[in-house]
Amino acid sequence: MKEKRDLKIQAIENGTVIDHIKAGQALNVLRILGISNAFRATISFVMNAPGAAGIKDVVKIEGKELSVEELNRIALISPKATINIIRDFEVVQKNKVVLPSYVEGVVRCINPNCISNSSEPIKSKFSVLQSEEEGVILRCLYCEHVISENIAENLL
């Protein structure tokens, strides 16, 4: 049994492993990192994998270390995710994602009348706040609209 599970989450030689992603959010993690068809590195991911603290998703990106700024965006949709930088099969760095205070070009403003949803040459801009009651809150720097739920659904 143990071996089979190990096969699912195979070790990588060099790259980035994003662990403890909120179950079901792995694809959104790829989106938030801007990983598309053009991305050349090998990517593998597991969804709904059993972990010590319940089910989780895991994403592995081989041969590429992403910047801290890029990785911290993951906190918008999965604040408990951890980042492992792997070199020669060893974890050389392990960090929790840190919620950024500002994001640009990552999320679409939910206000259809916002200038950032028009054809102007600008990127969406949000300040990021964390509230105990409502979790992560994004406030549009153009129109001041607030996004407090379903952030993943509004990823660009």
Partner: protein, 298 residues
């Protein structure tokens, strides 16, 4: 409006007061001599545009008008960012009114000259708030004001920013609206967080004896699917001579105008009516903002 501290607001209002004799035509000023103010109005607003024109000309400045949007390059598909980049080469300041939320903030990113937000989308109209504050200060007082806001409190952007600004002066705010048009909960919560006392009611009669300023707004028919409902609400939120029999003698009634029938014409000649004076105060307030933004007054 939230970007302004109380100190900054006071400074704008003090400047407006100094310029008021110029706005009345009693004194002459050349403060904006040699300055060109571009008025870019992407949606119609006669009152705001004319008062900016009057303010500029009273200070000896020149106005550059976009004219109608239909006749401009906007119709050829030019985006706002490019329009701003071009016009900021022609003028010393741009007053922008645009239908999209956040357009003034974006314009400021692309402009090489200051931008004054003359109303963007459905959310902000800061120069209106400044003139409302100025009117209250001139005709009543700002500190610890007992004010009622009545009418469409859900969609009315003027009341939202005015409430926020008044919270800097420790106001007691009464909200008078039909249940369908109540002030959005997040704004009420924000005000309460600032220790502002808020009470809500649906009738002017209950509160008219107990407020120093009544800020009326228009209730739009199209907000009500049922015309009968609209008629009921309309009559409950109507200022008449009868209603004012119970008013505090120092009461002042404000309205951003245009009004439809929420203030009956018989009120116009009473000492309570302040809405036409309020429209005039738009001129010294906008003069102050123009002078401060262009840097001719520091």
């Amino acid at each position: 409006m939230k970007d302004f501290s109380r100190k900054e607001i006071d400074y704008v209002l003090d400047t407006a007061e100094k310029l008021e004799p110029v706005a009345r035509g009693e004194e002459r000023s050349r403060l904006l001599d040699g300055k060109i103010i571009a008025l870019l109005f992407f949606e119609p607003s006669t009152r705001t545009r004319l008062s900016f024109e009057a303010a500029t000309q009273r200070l000896g400045g020149q106005v550059l008008n976009l004219g109608s949007v239909e006749a401009s390059s906007v119709m050829k598909g030019e985006n706002l960012a490019d329009t701003i980049r071009v016009i900021s080469n022609y003028a010393d300041l741009i007053v922008l009114r645009h239908p999209l939320d956040g357009s003034a903030r974006m314009a400021a990113e692309f402009s090489s000259v200051p931008i004054i937000n003359g109303g963007d989308g459905s959310l902000h109209h800061p120069t209106q708030t400044f003139l409302d504050l100025y009117t209250i200060r001139r005709e009543s007082h700002l500190e610890g004001l007992k004010i009622a806001m009545a009418g469409d409190l859900k969609y009315g952007r003027t009341v939202h920013s005015l409430c926020h600004a008044l919270s800097l002066y420790g106001a007691e705010i009464t909200l008078v609206s039909p249940p369908e048009l109540r002030m959005p909960l997040e704004i009420v919560r924000d005000l309460q967080k600032n220790n502002i006392r808020i009470r809500e009611t649906d009738s002017l009669e209950n509160i008219i004896g107990d407020v120093e300023v009544l800020y009326m707004t228009r209730v739009q028919r199209e907000r009500f699917p049922d015309p009968e409902e609209y008629e009921k609400v309309k009559n409950k939120l109507r200022v008449t001579g009868d209603l004012l029999k119970n008013a505090d003698p120092s009461l002042k009634i404000l309205h951003p105008l245009p009004r439809v029938n929420e203030i009956s014409p018989e009120v116009d000649s009473t000492p309570y009516a302040c809405y036409f004076e309020q429209a005039f105060y738009g001129v010294p307030t906008r003069m102050a903002l123009l002078a401060l933004a262009t840097g001719v007054i520091e």
